[in-house]
Symmetry: C2
Subunit: 396 residues, 2 copies
């Protein structure tokens, strides 16, 4: 899924093992800018927020600048009270000292088990080694260090142009479980060489997240730790006109959409990433129906069973709380219409074609509720034995 990792002028990376994960895998990641840079973040809407989330929000509010993103996996440092808050402060202070920068310029993130205070002393003990490992080429080490139940590291990049100027965006994310269309969805770190004020970065990040990660659903749960950051080194193109902003946001959208799709594909035990696209009279209604279909357990198990089960899809639409005339509804699986005018249209050939579509890893289910043209979608995953195995055994 990950292409060759693009370099972004002004940023270096590291990822090492610090002993937080008991299996000895990489669990400590760091991204450092050459100088303090403009930064923005969007965070979980969950009422229960982990210590590093609270600290990062506070630091971003204070200055809108950052120089380092410090991430650990293996421990979420959530529901850990005062000792947890202290651990986030102490571990970021240790790394700041090793970097020779102010602690307020380090934004910490954590992911993993909750309820256990972060062992700050393990991070402090490795702070020098972590800083020593920094290089422009180590983005993949960072991507691996932030993984928990992920089956593969997630990166995406895109370029954008204005006349002869070119800019670049790189995104690195983690996320498999606890993914849901309610904001920042797990951890993501987006870097660009563009120059733009923090206020614009925040608005652009929020717009892109709303159109991408907020439409991705694996299991309907949001975590205590979800955070997405955007840092701009300012070494490249100035985003100082409408055209450059549009091009930048198109590229940002691509990067976030790719990361979102990778998350669904990796959705704990998932075999399919399926876009549920709904057309209705209003976007709000379309969104509501797409959400109800995309989170229906009966639909998700039918996706796992590769069963063109239009009945579960129309039944889910029918309970979404949106008025429509079922006798005018249509359902397509890929290009094949399996439901039309309140009735299944399935002959043996259509059924076989729809079933073949459902064997592919990435396809679309389209639902038209009458003649409305307003559109919304949700990218969902199938729910199979893999999901159960991962989630019944993993203590998150």
């Amino acid at each position: 899924m990950s292409e060759d990792i693009m370099k972004i002028a002004g940023f270096r990376f590291a990822g090492i093992a610090s002993g937080i994960k008991k299996n000895g895998k990489k669990d400590l990641g760091l991204i450092v800018a050459d100088a303090p840079v403009n930064a923005a973040g969007v965070f979980t809407k969950n009422l229960v927020r982990a210590a590093p989330v609270e600290l990062s929000i506070e630091r971003l509010k204070a200055s809108s600048k950052a120089q380092a993103l410090l991430v650990n996996s293996g421990n979420a440092n959530a529901c850990t009270g005062e000792p947890g808050a202290k651990a986030s402060v102490d571990s970021s202070a240790a790394v700041a000292a090793a970097l020779g920068i102010e602690a307020g310029l380090v934004l910490p993130s954590s992911t993993g088990v909750i309820g256990v205070p972060l062992p700050a002393e393990k991070i402090a003990a490795k702070a020098e080694a972590l800083v020593g490992a920094l290089s422009e080429e180590s983005a993949m080490d960072f991507a691996e260090a932030i993984m928990t139940t992920d089956r593969f590291p997630k990166t995406a990049s895109a370029r954008f142009k204005r006349q002869r100027e070119e800019g670049a965006i790189l995104g690195i994310a983690k996320g498999a479980g606890m993914i849901h269309p309610d904001m920042a969805t797990t951890l993501g770190f987006i870097l660009t060489d563009a120059a733009a004020p923090s206020s614009y970065l925040r608005a652009a990040l929020r717009r892109a997240v709303d159109k991408t990660l907020n439409r991705v659903s694996v299991d309907g749960d949001t975590s205590t730790n979800d955070s997405f950051y955007l840092l701009a080194s300012g070494k490249g193109m100035k985003l100082n006109d409408e055209l450059s902003k549009r091009r930048f946001e198109e590229a940002l959208f691509k990067v976030l959409l790719s990361l979102g799709e990778q998350m669904v594909s990796d959705g704990e035990g998932a075999e399919h990433a399926v876009t549920i696209r709904v057309f209705a009279d209003t976007e709000k209604n379309a969104k509501r129906v797409a959400h109800t279909i995309g989170t229906s357990l009966l639909v998700k198990t039918a996706l796992f069973g590769k069963d063109p089960n239009w009945g579960r899809i129309i039944a889910a639409a029918g309970r979404a709380g949106v008025r429509f005339d079922p006798s005018k509804a249509e359902i397509f699986i890929g290009e094949d219409r399996v439901f039309h005018r309140g009735l299944p249209t399935m002959d043996a050939e259509t059924e076989a074609k729809a079933a073949a579509t459902m064997k592919t890893p990435r396809y679309e289910v389209r639902v038209k509720l009458g003649t409305g043209k307003a559109e919304a979608y949700l990218i969902t995953s199938d729910l199979g034995h893999g999901y159960v195995s991962v989630n019944a055994d993993y203590r998150s």
Copy 2:
């Protein structure tokens, strides 16, 4: 789960095989009253309603009387258009003719595969045999004939008293998949020998359903066919004062709660029926949090894994859209407090006791959001491999 089946004066039962189910199992059930009796029904709120639901609603609206409940399994006759509507009319007419009563007194229900018109001719061919099989002793045949993915038939009964008078209620239900707290939850047939007007029966049935079946959740989906009926033969106690009504409704509540618990226990592949009881400042908030916890996939897989995962529970509460102070929240599994003042309270002994509770088939998780005393609950099931197997393979 089912006790010895109570007889209700004035009702006879039958359950036979008519060839709708391909495996030759019983698929046609009939309950007949000695004469037209007062009747009430509550039906699915799904916008997509099956033909027999439409027909039964129409017939109950016309007269509030019924004499026969005709049920088939193996075919839901939903999303079947005009041919399906005709099949419901024709099959109930055939049984009415065999009974020698008006067709309008027959209330049909169907459950099973959707999108295929009901084979009315199979029911018509067996109408005489079905009527011939009627007896006071055949309630279990009826209970078996209405099963689809159910692992066991579901019946419950209760008596109620006023001085020396006694009344009786018998309930027979089917339901495993597509169970959700949104009304009548699958098919249920409640019979009593009491005497009461249809308007009271409807109000009492709705009150009881709201407190029982609407608080039962297996997978969050509601079907196109959900229907619950209450018929009163009038051969026994008259419900003509507050005391008799209260006693009747207490018994009705017990019957419906038992049927609901049996449904959760049978929840396709479920091993545990777990009551999520939430205390908050208002009942509405308590209900919302109970619903979010009880339908969380991460919580339900943790229940399957017998993992006292307070983290997933508090995280689900945190995204329910209800304001509370996590540092004042408490979580109990059985009698053991696993979360207190924003922190886990789990020592090895508490963890072992909570894990032992989670091995039992029926237990309670209590969540207190601060000092509020308003209360709500949801009975949910675990989500394990059995659920996936049943739902990935079964075409509903």
